[in-house]
Subunit: 261 residues, 2 copies
């Protein structure tokens, strides 16, 4: 159970939602459970307008943020959870239940982080690419004969678990950070680091151009698995900046005063 | 978390649902969480037909039972939970959370009972009259500024809690019946007892005719609060039959062999 203040540090993110009724249902579940911050990624404009102007639409729809990409939507976040079912794919992230997610979010929010809960389009859900921005995949345990949930209902179940359900003793324990740690790095900081490592790979002729896209994908996953805190992240960035500078400028031009000078 | 066999002993009951999309959403949540038994009370026929014939409608809609009254829908049940919010009324039943309901249902089902989870019409929810057939009122803890949930989403949250969420240690304990008790009396048996007591009240000139309806209402509540088991119920029925027979036939005509003969 997140406190009202913690709920203000969770963004609900809808990636390209299509059905205005579903958008309205997600907004209503948010209002039911005390969540106010909605971001919509690349919405289909006519349906998005229709959802906002529907009779009885919660105010939070008109305050919603719009972004062009998921990367932009979660840029400020230190912990991102994607939702979906595993029926047709092998997950690249740890898979957690909504109850486990509640405990993880509480820990992250207690350390001063910002978090996001991401829902994919109705038809196919989040892509493998979308999920590479996510630290975990939340799966609601459904019947294998009918695993796929309606978007508004999946949001209601997740937000109920985060905003309304009293934590069990076990969850309360898990929510207590065992030690005071710095907040995790933001998604944007991880993306900057990934960019830098990517450039470094190119500069170092690490792999053939045909592999670049797959490498970037794996890199995003790796960084989220490692989950560096903000201090770690700055250090690694500094290291790669140095490496890249060295690769671009061969030794003979190196700055005086460094260890390779 | 109810076992698949236990889920077959829970009926989901919709009282006069109006919106075909909501009916479909409830059926979908049932399929998602492994529940198969739906009863619809006094449905509005055109909308009910539309829901059943919708593209992708779960099979369980076509197997649904239809009844004219809630009393008939829950007649075989030994434990009935109504759903709703408390905003505008003072409850006459104990109010429980979905998590507490899960523990109570497990206990009842372990004793061999049959149970029902009842949802009211979209517009106003279950009436005070409807709730007098219910042993408890389940309330999903929502934000006081937006307490009322969409029917399909409320069903998804309740059925998730009953069909998918692993019980915490505390709930598992609560679900173990502390002693082997007979199953509770069915709703129909309680109604038969209420009828008999009602007739007894009339025969005894217990209260003015204007009070009869209120008395019947209070009687339903009382019997569900007492929750007699099936053996108790038969005993109380026997007692009131005897009393009623005595009231109808004054002493001079009494059967030989009884203590008043």
């Amino acid at each position: 159970l997140l406190s009202p203040d913690q709920r203000d540090h969770l963004d609900v993110v809808l990636v390209s939602p299509r059905n205005p009724l579903n958008i309205g249902a997600v907004a209503r579940a948010m209002a039911n459970f005390g969540f106010d911050r909605l971001t919509v990624v690349a919405p289909y404009v006519p349906h998005w307008r229709e959802a906002k102007s529907a009779v009885g639409a919660p105010d939070l729809l008109n305050r919603a943020r719009e972004t062009a990409s998921l990367a932009e939507a979660v840029a400020d976040c230190t912990f991102v959870a994607g939702t979906g079912t595993l029926t047709h794919r092998k997950p690249e992230q740890p898979v957690v239940t909504p109850a486990e997610l509640a405990a993880m979010l509480q820990g992250e929010l207690a350390r001063g982080g910002r978090t996001a809960l991401v829902f994919g389009p109705e038809k196919h859900g989040l892509t493998r690419e979308d999920l590479s921005w996510c630290h975990v995949l939340v799966e609601i345990p459904t019947d294998p004969r009918q695993p796929s949930m309606n978007l508004g209902q999946a949001a209601a179940v997740c937000l109920y678990e985060l905003g309304a359900r009293p934590a069990s003793a076990a969850n309360r324990d898990a929510a207590q950070p065992s030690q005071i740690a710095p907040a995790s790095a933001t998604s944007a900081a991880l993306d900057r680091l990934a960019d830098l490592i990517d450039q470094t790979m190119i500069a170092a002729d690490y792999s053939p151009p045909a592999m670049r896209q797959a490498n970037r994908h794996d890199l995003r996953l790796l960084l989220r698995r490692l989950a560096p805190n903000s201090t770690d992240n700055r250090r690694i960035l500094g290291l790669f900046r140095r490496i890249l500078w060295r690769l671009d400028k061969p030794r003979k031009n190196s700055k005086p005063g460094t260890e390779n000078a």
